[in-house]
């Protein structure tokens, strides 16, 4: 069942001059965890605030549990919120902060204690419950803010940058806890983030937003492996994807991409789409390939690309090799154990099955004729 649905939603500020959100359509199923991902200014916070009822919708409709909620106040919407700025009551203990949503609903003290204990256990804050917000770390405050949002049953839980104030390690721990709670309690959750790693790790589906426009919505794997356009391809993944300008050549009935004085065979399943795109030898295309899908060539391999080691970095759990080919730099991510000297000659091989092809003018990905990526 659709829990939340946004239909043709727009948000304008300053009497229509600033378009923060443009024609947004998306929906959330019951029990789903959706991430809205994008750089600052992409419209993700505006979207969240419109759903929460903190900001008015300029145009379009928002439905919760099948009913339009455009004109309901924030209070009247059955939505729980946890914000980046934790907004805890400074004079109340963490316990009372968490208990607050139950207290104002007139729940019995015994019941409140039971509920607070349950949620505090899940979020590892049981031993700091008697403290005031000012007496605990930012991480504890963030957990408390989340606990306060999760303590009451709601149709939808909205989380705004829920991990932003934590260090790397706390973040990975907290991430696991949030996802465990969401899955085991079967909560419907929507969170916004600018951190692509966080979105990939947490979400069932990700909506990528840029300049108020939805770029793509899909599972983490779809977003990572089959980005719809150059923006998504570039925004997601670390180290970032390599982009290489190339030109198309047709030989007999096969297409090859010419780059750096090398010709790479374009996989068979692209034949039809290349046929459509090709306007003669020299048609420009943009190739995208992730550092993890480039290998050091084995002896005797063909379709290799030769270059020189620009720099090699051993970062413990992987090796990042940057190869210079003419004026271009290509980044390769290798498993631990490699070592290279600056300037050393090196041959690399692209995993042709993993190469993505983009229209350099529109930035759209050119899809193969068949395969699961064609959806």
């Amino acid at each position: 069942m659709e829990k939340l649905e946004l239909k043709n939603v727009y948000k304008y500020y300053v009497q229509g001059t600033v378009e923060a959100v443009k024609n947004l359509n998306l929906s959330l199923k019951s029990g789903e965890l959706l991430a809205i991902l994008g750089p600052s200014g992409c419209g993700k916070s505006s979207t969240l605030r419109m759903i929460a009822g903190i900001e008015e919708i300029t145009k379009g409709e928002i439905y919760l549990d099948g009913e339009i909620i455009n004109w309901l106040s924030a209070k009247e919407r059955n939505i729980a919120l946890a914000f980046e700025t934790y907004a805890l009551y400074p004079h109340l203990s963490l316990f009372e902060n968490i208990a607050f949503p139950l207290r104002i609903r007139g729940r019995k003290d015994q019941e409140v204690r039971k509920e607070v204990k349950k949620i505090a256990d899940m979020l590892d804050i049981t031993n700091v419950l008697s403290k005031l917000p000012s007496e605990v770390s930012g991480g504890h405050q963030q957990r408390t803010s989340l606990a306060r949002a999760l303590i009451r049953p709601a149709s939808l839980y909205l989380l705004d940058e829920p991990l932003s104030h934590l260090d790397t390690q706390q973040r990975t721990e907290f991430r696991v806890q949030i996802k465990r709670i969401q899955k085991t309690q079967n909560l419907t959750m929507l969170f916004v983030t600018h951190d692509q790693l966080e979105a990939l790790a947490l979400a069932d589906r990700i909506a990528v937003l840029n300049l108020g426009v939805l770029q793509q919505i899909g599972t983490p794997e779809e977003i990572y492996e089959y980005p719809e356009n150059l923006f998504v391809a570039d925004f997601v993944g670390e180290p970032p994807m390599n982009f290489i300008k190339a030109t198309l050549i047709r030989e007999k009935n096969n297409y090859t991409a010419k780059l750096y004085n090398q010709k790479l065979k374009i996989p068979e399943n692209y034949k039809d789409s290349m046929e459509k795109f090709y306007t003669g030898d020299g048609t420009e295309i943009m190739l995208g390939i992730r550092p993890i899908y480039i290998y050091i060539s084995k002896p005797g391999e063909n379709q290799i690309i030769s270059g020189e080691v620009y720099v090699f970095e051993d970062v413990g759990e992987s090796g990042i090799l940057t190869v210079q080919i003419g004026d271009a730099l290509i980044r390769v991510e290798l498993s631990p154990g490699y070592s290279f000297k600056l300037g050393e000659k090196v041959n690399i091989t692209f995993d042709l099955e993993k190469i993505l092809i983009f229209n350099p003018t529109t930035g759209e990905r050119i899809k193969p004729n068949y395969s699961k990526s064609a959806k």
Partner: protein
Amino acid sequence: MEVLRLENVYKNYGKNEAIKNLNFSCEEEELFVILGPSGAGKTTTLKLISGLEEVTKGKIFLKNKLVNNLEPKDRNVSMVFEDYALYPHLIVYKNISSPLEAIHLPKGEIDKKVKEIARVLQIEELLSRFPSMISGGQKQRTVLARSLVKKANEYLMDEPIAHLDAKLRYQMRGEFKRIQHIRKMNILYATHDFREALSLGDRILILNKGVTQQIGSPQEIFNKPANIFVANLLGDPPTNLIEGILKVKDGQYFLQIGNISISLSKSLADELLSKINQEKLVVGIRPFDLHCYLKQEENMKILNTEVYMSEIAGHYNIISIKLNNTIIKIREEKSFKVSLGDKISVDFKEEKLDFFDAISGNRIF
């Protein structure tokens, strides 16, 4: 040759001991990294060396000369700050030459130095542009050029690329490493980012709460962490640490973790026993040294355990399992797909284990 040496250096702010008995030295052409979390004392250390802060106790030598009582300007060190403001009304050339003009160097010499550093940093063709006309990465290189154009005994860099976005940081880290390869400089580099430290450092000092934890090459630090703190600081996810008890039964050695026992070879157990005086210890293993299997085989170390969490970390998956109330993280290929609650078996090679003293946290061997 030794360029910088700290001997028994302490720094107190009132009752707060920011630096406790710090000892290290930097060689000519060495890039020496201080790695630690915020509050470790990294910036304080740089300030003590530059003379912006006074040492409470101990000695600082630059080129074998005691500098404790010298003014910052007389120490001939160059401090590169995190903040990278360029003069917007000056072209790149003038931005870089400003420190040399301030000391009234002859014009010809200034020109030579500016062009040389611009060539090393590959910004020669930008020299006549204004800062507003160049990219973020080029601005960063211009700032670097301005700091490096003046000759110094030691260049002190405090998180020089920490505030850049992830993409630019990747790029700058590589550029920086290459520049250091080509033109060896004396650099003391403070960071909280373990990848930066491993990538750039000739040697790394790990600092926590003002106390040195370990000094060594990147390989030593990553592969042989001196204690639990160091093990936990490096890697994403960091090393898994779990308490266990060393046990003998019928001549067989086991590591008891909760109700799971993992058999150990006799040679390893003997070596452990010769070095510990209690049976409790902490075991460490890196997430990429653990491997998941859907089918169990008898000799696997951890059989039939439940998937606690499965996350996509871009180009690989992180699978978590729970072992005696500790969450263990495993880095697996993207093709290994499981969901919450699925049963898996986990295996690893014994030699990949690190052992730490359960009380002191120090490495046993």
